[in-house]
């Protein structure tokens, strides 16, 4: 199954390109997911589709567009919580619209169940929103469903490997199977829980079944299959590789078509800062300032001054530390508040993704000045502006050979220490935290000059 909305744009293009010289006619799609493959290839106006999947989400879409009965009804025990969704289940459009909307409404789990972890004011509010607007949402979603110029020749709800066996080998087959066993069940479990529906029988799609499927796929006249791991046995059939981001999964595309190979590699756009770094001959002035910078500028600085081995996550906001109009360093944070904050640290807490000083200056402890600027009142105010809420502290993780990090020691408190097996990055994984707003920038600079100059 391909997850909802998880096929990158580049992959859609590759699928379209690689199938360009396939014969017109029937294309069998294993793990239809949200029917991205069918929806992309339907634009060519020369294919018919036979879809397959096992989740309530995919089965509802597949059965609807294949002209089959949906047979979906609300379970009695959920009438109290979700009674408002029941009335539209009588029509085919209404039933499909209900499942599509439920996949969104229940994406985090059951929000009405008093035992649910999601029982709180936020989810109550969300459910109230859905309840109050349900008729309108159903009406708009139904309109989209009926206006879509899309037909499935057939849809098979059931085990993909067994289904492969039943298909003629002179037909064409395409599939992007789930990355991990059980993924396909978990994603729509909370939706499936509340309905009676015609659940298909199928075996768990584990590694063994995946191998079987790959074997069977190769017997088709034209075939295309996606995998997040390299399949050495299909080496000669590697038609493309998509890795959209540095931390994202690679998707290998294998096929037996004589088409050009395609490659999409990560590319992190960088921008120059327009301010020079502190050089050996530059001295720290009487002021230090903190400016918000673009993520592209941050990526540029990171490429220049940070260890290339560190794969950093996606930053949401970054700041530049400047003195005498020269770059001292920068720091960046994650977009979400840290959820599990040690008791020692006042929360809410932002996660410090990276911090570093330029390596071109005469000062050995410039990175301390970056941290001091981070912990300033001015930075705290800017962060609060961004998140529209009180921000009390920051925490980060350091990997070090020693049991303490020289960079954070003295300014941050050590919250936890554990040994790591990741020997390239250091023997210890150290978690550090500190309160924000400890001083203003002027006081901070004086502190740095006193202790670290």
């Amino acid at each position: 199954m391909v997850f909802k909305g998880s096929i990158p744009a580049e992959l859609k293009f590759l699928i379209s390109e690689i199938t360009d010289n396939w014969d017109s006619g029937l294309v069998n799609v294993g793990f239809s997911g949200n029917f991205t493959i069918e929806r992309v290839l339907s634009q060519k106006n020369r294919f018919q589709f036979y879809g397959n999947d096992v989740t309530i989400f995919s089965c509802a879409i597949g059965r609807y567009y294949a002209g089959q009965d949906l047979n979906i009804s609300l379970r009695d025990e959920f009438r109290g919580s979700y009674g408002f969704i029941e009335k539209h289940l009588k029509t085919r459009e209404g039933a499909l619209a209900t499942i599509l909307l439920c996949s969104k409404m229940l994406q985090f789990g059951h929000i009405s169940n008093s035992e649910s972890k999601l029982k709180n004011r936020y989810y109550d509010r969300l459910q109230k929103g859905y309840c109050n607007n349900w008729d309108d949402l159903i009406s708009k979603t139904s309109a989209k469903i009926t206006s879509a110029d899309f037909i499935l020749q057939n849809f098979e709800s059931g085990d993909v490997v067994d289904w492969c066996d039943s298909l003629p080998t002179d037909s064409q087959f395409i599939s992007f199977p789930p990355f991990f066993s059980g993924d396909y069940n978990e994603q729509f479990k909370s939706v499936a829980d509340i309905f009676h529906w015609d659940e298909p029988d199928y075996s768990e799609f584990n590694d063994e079944r995946k191998v079987k499927m790959i074997e069977k796929v190769q017997t088709f006249r034209h075939w295309l299959i996606g995998s997040h791991i390299k399949q050495p046995e299909l080496k000669d059939n590697l038609k493309g590789l998509v890795r959209a981001t540095n931390r994202g999964a690679s998707i290998y595309i294998y096929g037996n078509t004589d088409s050009d190979t395609k490659l999409v590699s990560p590319f992190q756009k960088t921008e120059p800062m327009g301010i020079p770094p502190m050089m050996e001959y530059d001295e720290i002035g009487d002021d230090v300032k903190v400016f918000k910078i673009t993520l592209e500028q941050f990526y540029g600085l990171r490429s220049q001054y940070m260890n290339h081995n560190i794969v950093v996550g996606q930053a949401s906001n970054a700041w530049l530390v400047v003195s005498n109009n020269k770059i001292v360093g920068c720091f960046a944070i994650l977009s979400e508040m840290s959820r599990s904050v040690p008791a020692l640290l006042p929360s809410p807490t932002v996660y410090l993704l990276s911090d570093f000083a330029v390596n071109t200056s005469q000062y050995k402890k410039l990175s301390k000045l970056v941290l001091i600027a981070l912990l300033s009142k001015e930075t705290k105010l800017m962060m609060q502006d961004i998140f529209s809420q009180r921000i009390m502290s920051t925490m980060t993780t350091a990997f070090a050979e020693n049991s303490t990090s020289m960079k954070y020691r003295g300014l941050f408190s050590l919250l936890s220490r554990k040994e790591t097996t990741r020997d390239q990055t250091g023997k210890y994984q150290l978690q550090y935290g500190a309160s924000l707003g400890q001083w203003d920038l002027k006081e901070g600079l004086a502190l740095w000059k006193k202790n670290y100059l």
Binding site: A9, E10, K12, F13, S16, T36, R39, V40, S42, Q43, I61, L100, L101, S103, K104, N120, R121, Y122, R125, L126, G129, N133, L137, T141, K144, A148, D149, F150, K239, G240, L241, N246, D260, T261, K262, L263, V264, S265, F267, Q268, T270, M279, E280, Y299, G300, R302, S303, Q304, H308, V311, V312, P348, N359, T360, Q384, F387, S388, Q389, R390, M392
Partner: protein, 313 residues
């Protein structure tokens, strides 16, 4: 110095030959540039490391100049040397000079090796890249279909679900020292295009943040809008306390009106009570006790009656 002699000196300087040789060295023994304008993005550097690992050696040689202490500084090819270290190569070949170069000469060589480079004809480049027709070698090339603009947008039919509608409210807080708040408000309105603007000063901003933090703690919900709605709910429950604002002597002004909600805690009353109140008020108007345009004075009569009743015990 005559003109001809000056020309000759410049020519001599420019024509100074550099003696070079290829040395095999441990990359760890080389000194890297302290300041280098050329940088590589994370993914580019990782690719270089992968290529070096794959080849087991550097396939183009860096250039280094001897230092006073006999070590060499890499003037060009710093990333290649770093990649060799990363790939754990014990030895690399490097072109070096043992000539004594001036600082300016070293810097000029460093810059020239980066700046004097050719450029690609994109069409030829695409053709050459396409002719590789092998994903592994395409990776090795450092190019990809996206950077060569060989990926096009593909339309896909949509039948996705409709989503809940949200509206944005921007809370705008300005420092106290800003004197012309109205003018700032006007500027801010021009800058931000959301549905509503609320303005408050810095102290209120701090109070607001603390209140939001309090609701986050109490409800275990981090969502700001939910926090704000919780504050409003608490406010509604305690709205009668608003009378504290106008009741004290120092704030009291007999000519001002006050909201009934700050007395009753609600701005509505049950319909049966409303019917009776309306009837009594009509009666007071018809008997000339109150003016028709001052029907609220019915409350004054009721209060007077209650006070009189109390006096009689």
């Amino acid at each position: 110095m005559g003109f001809k002699r000056r020309i000759s000196t410049v020519e001599e300087k420019l024509s100074l030959n550099i003696n070079t040789k290829i040395k095999t060295m441990n990359p760890m023994d080389l000194k890297l540039l302290k300041s280098n304008a050329r940088y590589m993005r994370h993914e580019q550097f990782q690719l270089l490391v992968d290529n070096v690992k794959r080849d087991g050696k550097l396939t183009s040689v860096p250039f280094g100049a001897i230092n006073e202490d006999g070590t060499y500084t890499v003037l060009s090819g710093n990333h290649r040397v770093m990649a060799a270290i990363e790939a754990e190569l014990d030895e690399i070949e490097i072109m070096v000079t043992d000539d004594e170069l001036t600082e300016k000469q070293r810097l000029a060589i460093q810059l020239s090796h980066n700046s004097i480079s050719g450029q690609d004809d994109p069409d030829v480049l695409k053709e050459l890249y396409k002719s590789l027709n092998d994903v592994d070698w395409q990776i090795y090339s450092g190019l990809d279909d996206k950077s060569l603009e060989m990926i096009e947008a593909v339309d896909a039919l949509s039948f996705s679900e409709s989503t809940l509608k949200f509206r944005t409210v921007t809370l705008l807080f300005l420092p106290e020292e800003i004197e012309e708040v109205e003018s700032a408000f006007k500027d801010a309105k021009e800058l931000i295009s959301t549905n509503y603007w609320w303005l408050a000063n810095m102290k209120q901003y701090d109070d607001y943040l603390d209140l939001i933090r309090g609701t986050q703690h109490s409800t275990n919900v981090s969502n700001i809008a939910t926090g704000l709605m919780t504050i409003l709910e608490v406010f509604k429950k305690n709205v009668a306390q608003l009378s504290d604002e106008w009741m004290p002597e120092e704030n009291f002004s007999p000519s001002k009106t006050v909201p009934l909600i700050s007395i009753f805690g609600n701005d509505t009353i049950p319909s049966e009570l409303g019917r009776r109140l309306n009837k009594v008020t009509d009666s007071m108007v018809s008997k000339g006790l109150i003016e028709p345009f001052q029907r609220h004075m019915a409350l004054d009569v009721m209060i007077w009656s209650w006070e009189e009743l109390n006096k009689r015990g």
